[in-house]
Subunit: 334 residues, 2 copies
């Protein structure tokens, strides 16, 4: 039985769902993996709460469900970065909603934790989009970086590309990585205008009040940058992606998709995000409205696709647990 | 740079394609993984060929392409088992076409090699169907067992279930695991009778002269037994699977599928292989004629599907290379 000490930063939907999943899965972790996680510190925007003997997670969950910050249980005015800096722990799990323009606060949290020798699991894309190469270079057996929930949550989007296609020449990657636009485009194929489809998606809770990040393609572009870095090992940046959103699509009853595409061009790759009509026999043309997917076209493995459906709101949180168990396996075998 | 010594048993399509892929990928293995494979012994039904300094693979490939046994280059009358027994090596790669009724010769080869401390990569289902538990128990960091090419070749059928869904309650596994019946049923949906679809599949080279293993469902059943053992960790056996083939399907213009199904029933699981009509929004209803796929339904990861297309004849061989690289990674981190 191995017990790891854990810091969790960010207690929005992703962090809170992680705690719920952890409580639910504690018996399985013990029985099946010989593994226990002791959460010794959490942080949200209000402050931090710590206990070296392990926090009472039900109390934290209950408190957050009542829309209260953990600072009111612990200390206010102390940042997640100070918590990580001052607390020895095996893991940092970061679920803060980092800013896409700066990668912060996740980027500084991850840098600090890795350099201190903590394993780091990221749920947020932003630090990876800004500094994939730097963070990957800091990752080492004693302080490993994982982020399988950062690109489409529960879908093993990057894992399959990195682990199941080794030594392949990957000539093309096509992906539907944004569920909001998939819902909107499906409603539009059924006859809705863009405007009414957006309103319906907002009513369903899948589109934000300001939908621009999704509908203008930037969420997909950010995810595509991570795929390019993590799977193809190329230093792609957001500026490298040609991005066009779905606002001006006129589907005329046809199913369109917002396709993230990485094509091999000469010795390099071209990255784009654009609305397209996929041929009806394309693996991604068949995706339903709550589905995402990625297709890798390779030389020696043929075409391998992964899709995800019915993921629900806790997919990214489940991805964090997957990463913790993966690091546990890697550490055990050494 | 790490050089591994390797024995390869079986030089039919799978073994020979492995050698071709290896020759093609040697520069990538060196550059990207710091890895070289030195094939020091091969065996086919004619005998063996060995060279402690590494065989000339082009010569072996050329010889086999001329339908000659390697015994005529090396020693006749010596079995693969003797080769493995008498030769120190880091890896045994077994591509012999083992008998489904006995698991041999692969089962004895794998047992021997693992007990000697060799890593073992299996391309054949049969040893796993007969003795999954025994072989898995022999696997350990110094002598690891892998078989990612044994269930649908290049498709990471088992890998995704084992590695990307940890701690999940897997409530249902649905899979199309046999390409021959997928081709026949697709032709039947287009109006062919069973008999003419079979003849066409035989003409295309996707159905055997005796198609019973495929069309009666036993190939799928064998694969399903491995999935049950390797992903669900249950000691399922072929006798546990309710099997019905496709000979009596009358599709009336509809797409049927030969579905391998594992359902949770009470505390246990029910395994079956049966022709079914899938609802049109089912991820596997959308598969084309050269495609296979598996859908895992879970509690915390939602529904995750993996599909494979355009795999070609070398998928299982590529799976063997994937396994070698995976073992290399695991060994490097220890």
């Amino acid at each position: 039985m191995k017990t790891y000490t854990v810091l969790l930063t960010g207690l929005g939907h992703v962090g809170l769902n992680f705690l719920r999943i952890l409580r639910q899965k504690e018996p399985v972790l013990t029985r099946q993996y010989g593994l226990a996680l002791k959460i010794i510190g959490v942080a949200d925007s209000s402050g931090i709460l710590t206990d070296p003997d392990g926090l009472d997670l039900d109390r934290v969950i209950d408190h957050k469900e009542q829309k209260q910050g953990v600072g009111t249980l612990g200390q206010t005015g102390i940042s997640a970065l100070q918590l990580v800096n001052d607390t020895a722990a095996d893991f940092l799990l970061d679920a803060t909603p980092s800013d896409l323009r700066t990668g912060q606060p996740g980027l500084d949290l991850a840098r600090l934790a890795l350099s201190q020798g903590k394993h780091v699991v990221l749920a947020s894309k932003s630090p990876l989009v800004h500094a994939y190469g730097e963070l990957a270079a800091l990752s080492r057996p004693a302080a490993q970086l994982r982020f399988s929930g950062a690109v489409c949550g529960a879908m093993p989007t990057v894992n399959v590309g990195r682990r199941d296609l080794p030594a392949a020449a990957i000539t093309r990657i096509e992906a539907i990585l944004n569920s909001t636009t998939q819902v909107i485009l499906t409603l539009m194929a059924q006859g809705s205008s863009y405007e009414s489809a957006l309103v319906e998606a907002q009513r369903l809770g899948v589109a934000e009040p300001d939908p621009s990040l999704d509908v203008d393609g930037w969420d997909t572009a950010n995810k595509l940058v991570i795929v390019a870095n993590a799977v193809l090992n190329i230093p792609a940046r957001l500026d490298d992606v040609v991005v066009r959103g779905i606002r001006s699509v006129e589907p005329h009853g046809e199913q369109w998709a917002l396709l993230g595409l990485i094509e091999r061009v000469g010795e390099g790759y071209r990255l784009s995000v654009e609305p397209v009509r996929l041929p009806s026999d394309h693996p991604l043309a068949r995706l339903g409205k709550d589905e995402m997917g990625i297709v890798y076209t390779t030389d020696i493995y043929g075409q391998i696709a992964v899709t995800s459906a019915k993921q629900g709101p806790a997919g990214a949180s489940a991805g964090m647990l997957r990463d913790v168990i993966d690091i546990h396996h890697t550490s055990q075998s050494s």
